[in-house]
């Protein structure tokens, strides 16, 4: 009963906010609505007794990714896109149809393969202890591979942004 009271409003807010992310003209408002979507999604994770995932969701997305996107928008000084919303083009109708078709396929698959609802969960389900134990025992190889990916993307980001500065200074030297 309490699950129902929490689930329906949260799901409605998540759907509304994610629609606003896609439809709003200004990128900075889209980023703020994305923050709201991810925040309320963390509620749903907590409802599914995935407490650690919910906390990590707020920490990583709200604290890291959204702040990074907001900084990029402020750095780029983007304008509102006005020309994009003047008319409904054929491409938009096709995309809407494609999105709806995808949703239909996914929900048909979900209704067909209804998984059995397990009545009792293990006592340590979703705790930080259990998740951490699994991460360094069963999934230790994936854990190490992910850390390698982080290093690679860090180096890649620095190289991408620095490379331009170097080439500009080389051009100045040539002149």
């Amino acid at each position: 009963m309490i699950e129902m009271i929490i689930f329906y409003p949260t799901a409605a807010i998540v759907i509304l906010f994610s629609l606003m992310v896609v439809l709003h003209k200004s990128p900075i408002r889209s980023a703020l609505f994305l923050l709201g979507t991810l925040f309320f999604m963390a509620f749903i994770f907590a409802l599914l007794s995935a407490h650690f995932v919910a906390v990590i969701q707020i920490l990583v997305y709200a604290g890291g990714i959204i702040v990074l996107i907001l900084f990029a928008i402020m750095l780029l000084n983007l304008q509102k896109e006005d020309s994009e919303y003047d008319h409904i083009s054929l491409g938009k109708v096709i995309s809407l149809g494609l999105g709806g078709f995808l949703f239909l396929i996914i929900s048909i698959v979900f209704f067909k393969m209804y998984p059995g609802h397990s009545s009792e969960l293990p006592a340590n389900f979703g705790t930080i202890e259990e998740v951490g134990r699994l991460m360094v025992t069963d999934y230790v190889f994936a854990f190490e591979a992910i850390s390698l990916l982080i290093i690679a993307s860090l180096v890649g980001g620095v190289v991408l942004v620095r490379g331009l500065i170097n080439s500009k200074s080389k051009l100045k030297k040539l002149k």
Partner: protein
């Protein structure tokens, strides 16, 4: 009674919205945000199935997906900033420099 199917259908709706965003928006940053939405709906599916099957392994993958999303945003924003510094373009339709590169 909220069953697993409710969560899965919510995830499907958010995935479809994200897909629509990637297909229609022409701003690179908003496309990146729509991809984040799609990744998050995949997280929701993993967590819903983890609860339904009573297996904590389903909680490991959302954490890995979040890590991959963070890497993707870092590299993606670096690319967007580089493109914007080079040509002041934030519209996907304007990105045609690959066509202008002379081969050989």
């Amino acid at each position: 009674m909220i069953t697993t199917t409710h969560y899965l259908v919510l995830a499907a709706i958010i995935f479809a919205i994200g897909c629509f965003g990637v297909l229609t928006r022409r701003n690179l940053l908003v496309m990146l945000m729509s991809v984040e939405l799609m990744l998050n709906s995949a997280n929701l599916t993993f967590v819903a199935f983890a609860k339904s099957l009573g297996d904590t392994s389903g909680h490991i993958f959302p954490i890995f997906i979040m890590t991959v999303a963070a890497c993707e945003v870092a590299v993606g924003l670096a690319i967007i900033i580089t493109i914007f510094r080079m040509s002041k373009i934030s519209d996907v339709l304007g990105l045609t420099f690959m066509k202008d590169i002379k081969s050989g």
